[in-house]
Symmetry: C2
DNA sequence: GTTATTTTGTACTGAACGGTATTTATTGCC
DNA sequence: GGCAATAAATACCGTTCAGTACAAAATAAC
């Protein structure tokens, strides 16, 4: 924990508190999360929240960015670390489903697709973040497929861009169904089928 | 407009007011929609709203049901009316994109996936509605594909259930991107590619 | 031990919220 | 015209909201 030289020491770490805020927004959405909800979950009081994060709105944007850089990009990281196309898609979807069904309570899904999307109208920056996140993921997946093509693990006819888009579509399908309450087991059981729809049979 | 025999006549129709409420919830979400927003858009005052729809929560559930029975199921209806598989999928996606990019303003998308999903935690009935809607759509699409198989318009190897799921995944991808602000033209231009991913080449 | 500095903790503010009591207006029936 | 019935319209209620003022506490420097 970084401390100043003088003055009363801080009792919390910015990143830990931000992660807690992510959980609150993920569960209740932006408008559904009150400052009481947030401060209680983050373990800090209101003045600390305001001095550290600004207002509720900028805390929200920080939380979305933290999610995007962490949990939100974990599936893409798993994809990139895999050795072959089928494993890459399978790892992508497995990490995805695990993150979207992580909670013991109901209603997890994706913070971006299931919660932040609601606020794309009232907070323009959110719309931009949604678009940028999707675009970035699409490009990374496309490049990953292109790499596999160069390695001859995918045929030359394989359309990397279209398949990257399809894989993201599948991601959004899982996000919706996780949020709707469908259990992890059911979704995991579908992954093989989805892999087959993205990667042509051997 | 159905009127009572006695008493002051109503100045609004329930369905019209409900459709207006749908628009508000679709734009701002449940928690982001105030009663002032709702009554203003619906053209009625608070007591009328409460006597007709109960409270905000039950108005919300009514609005979701109305959306599901109307706009939300329009793509499936278009699918069912088509004469061949490619046209069915194409019509499904075309109607979908048109509905999700209907507004001149930003942030349309799907009321269920882009807005209602947020409230699946705080209002349990919403989670159930999301799940039931997806299940119903999946079954109808699956039966449609099966019909095309019987008509020999699709090969026996065609997996109707898996393809129905994939088509719904694509729907959720479009919903996300519409909500993120991607324009109708871009999405329409992608439909042919998506059709090819659902229906095998001739 | 005093001072300067930083953060915590509590209490508070005006505004907006969902919901309702009450009054007024408009009809059909006698 | 008077009465009963229904709905509209306004004004209001207590609560919760996001945001802040202010004081108490904890550290380093001297």
């Amino acid at each position: 924990m970084v401390q100043n030289k003088v003055g009363r020491p801080k009792k919390f770490e910015r990143e830990v508190a931000l992660d807690a805020a992510v959980e609150v927004f993920w569960a209740k959405g932006y408008d559904g999360s009150s400052l009481d909800d947030l401060t209680k979950a983050m373990g800090i009081n209101r003045p600390s929240l305001y001095s550290t994060f600004g207002d509720k709105r900028s805390l929200y944007l920080d939380a979305l960015a933290a999610y995007g850089a962490g949990i939100g990009s974990a599936p893409v990281v798993a994809f990139d670390e895999a050795a072959d196309p089928r494993e890459a898609v399978s790892a992508f979807l497995t990490v995805l489903v695990e993150n979207q069904t992580r909670s013991g309570d109901r209603a997890q899904g994706c913070l971006m697709a299931s919660c932040a999307a609601t606020t794309a109208g009232e907070i323009p920056e959110v719309g931009d973040m949604l678009a940028i996140g999707a675009k970035a993921a699409s490009i990374i997946l496309e490049r990953g497929f292109e790499k596999f093509k160069q390695e001859k693990q995918l045929p030359a006819s394989f359309s990397s861009k279209a398949k990257a888009g399809l894989l993201l579509d599948i991601m959004h399908g899982f996000a919706y169904r996780s949020r709707a309450g469908e259990g992890r087991k059911n979704l995991i059981a579908e992954i093989e089928e989805k892999v087959g729809q993205v990667i042509p049979a051997l």
